[in-house]
């Protein structure tokens, strides 16, 4: 992943994982609780529109607003987070979960 970084940047950038969850606004509190319990240093929430298997989510009512939920975690914490998300998904909730590689300045801020 660090291929293509300059020498100096290799030292200040540290690999972490960005977990992205796309789901209904209604589930926001539950996601917050889930990642906090598993040691996330924080989270970021975007409001969004979209469409998928449950139709168009126009963002006009609470129930048809999507959120995109971001949490950056060190690799060591990722599995526990994914377990929690899988557990929510298993109950029938609609979640899209994406994991991507990021490099962070100041990794201590995400611990």
């Amino acid at each position: 992943m660090n291929e293509g970084l300059l020498e100096g940047d290799m030292h200040r950038l540290h690999p972490e994982k960005l977990i992205t969850v796309i789901t209904s606004d209604v589930l926001g509190d539950r996601l917050v609780k889930a990642v906090k319990q598993r040691g996330a240093s924080g989270y970021t929430i975007f409001r969004a529109q979209g469409a998928g298997s449950s139709g168009e989510q126009s963002g006009m009512l609470d129930v048809d607003t999507n959120i995109v939920f971001h949490v950056v975690v060190p690799l060591t914490k990722m599995s526990a987070m994914l377990d929690a998300l899988e557990a929510i998904g298993r109950k029938g909730h609609h979640l899209k979960v994406l994991v991507s590689d990021v490099n962070v300045l100041w990794p201590e801020k995400f611990e």
Partner: protein, 336 residues
């Protein structure tokens, strides 16, 4: 019907609907839509509470009791019909049915505008009933879902799946369900505003009056404009929902209207105006309070089913055809 279509609120609904049909790029900021519905709940609540302060206690209690009965009863009827129709599974039936026990403030307010435009008087008790009817339907919906879930699991010989992490006891679940039903955002807003309207000092209520009365009808128009767009957006989902369910989405409010007319006039003794409003309460389906509750607690149900039925079928039906129909029914019963 014609006079109904000359009411600005209804016309704005039609305009929003049309805008989407002709694929206009008309866009409504999403925070505006949410702001309008917060305003409407607060305004209805304050108004209802203020009326409650002046109300006859016995009639008020009687209304509340019938409101509770409607809120508990309609979902049971709906659930039975849906399960019987065999077009959806039990979880979806529970979630859909819950919507019909609750009410649509937008429909109620359109009915008020309709009565106003015909200069028909109406009692203030239905506003109180409106505020009371949000929660019971949620409770029934969640209970029906819990019960269906258990039955399903037993049929399949599986252990009962739990909707809440680490809260396994039945007792825990019931309190949970009740809490969910009463902490629902719109329930809190509506009941809270009602209490405020009832207890606030009259001279300070006077200062709020212009906000909740003068601009009310205009705000309702904007809200219905947006709801029209929202309804039209769901038209495409009709196929997904299927003809039988669409029929349900029309038959259920008509049935509710009948029951409501009966309760409004015979049980509560209202004149034609009040009777129409009770009919609308029974006939309308929630799209604010109930859907998030179902989404959260009945994840097995498909949101596009209940949203299409409530927003795409029942709401437009009620606004355009239902209200004049209930008016006819109410006239027939009250003049009988």
């Amino acid at each position: 019907m014609l006079s109904n279509l000359l009411i600005p609120a209804v016309l704005f609904f039609a305009l929003g609907f049309l805008a989407k049909l002709i694929k206009s790029d008309l866009r409504f900021p999403s925070d505006l839509a949410k702001a309008l519905s917060i305003y409407l709940l607060v305004a209805i609540g304050l108004h209802g509470g203020y009326e409650l302060g002046k109300a006859d206690l016995l009639t008020a209690l009687n209304s509340v009791m019938w409101a509770l009965l409607l809120g508990f009863g309609m979902p049971l009827i709906g659930y039975a019909i849906l399960v019987f129709s065999k077009k959806v599974d039990a979880m979806n039936a529970a979630a859909i049915a819950a919507h019909y026990g609750s009410v649509s403030a937008g429909t109620f307010l359109t009915a008020v505008a309709y009565l106003d435009s015909l200069q028909i008087e109406y009692d203030s008790y239905p506003v109180i009933m409106l505020a009371v009817m949000e929660s019971p339907a949620i409770v029934v919906g969640l209970l029906l879902a819990a019960w269906s879930r258990r039955r399903l699991a037993q049929q399949q010989g599986e252990p009962v799946a739990d909707t809440e992490n680490g809260d396994d006891s039945d007792r825990g679940k019931l309190t949970h369900i009740l809490r969910d039903a009463f902490t629902n955002g719109s329930v809190v807003l509506l009941l809270g505003s009602m209490v405020i309207g009832a207890v606030a000092a009259p001279q300070s209520m006077a200062k709020i009056k212009p906000f909740i009365e003068d601009i009310f009808m205009g705000v309702l128009c904007l809200f219905l404009l947006e709801m029209g767009m929202e309804a039209a957006r769901r038209i495409g989902d009709f196929r997904r929902v299927g003809a039988v369910l669409v029929v349900f989405g029309v038959a259920m409010p008509v049935l509710g209207g009948l029951i409501g007319v009966f309760i409004g006039h015979l049980m509560l003794g209202f004149e034609v105006g009040g009777t129409v409003l009770v009919a609308v309460l029974a006939a309308s389906a929630s799209y604010i309070a109930v859907p998030p509750a179902m989404r959260l607690a009945v994840p097995e149900a498909n949101p596009s089913l209940y949203l299409t039925l409530s927003l795409g079928v029942t709401f437009p039906f009620n606004v355009v055809f239902g209200i004049p129909l209930y008016h006819m029914m109410a006239t027939a019963v009250t003049s009988a």
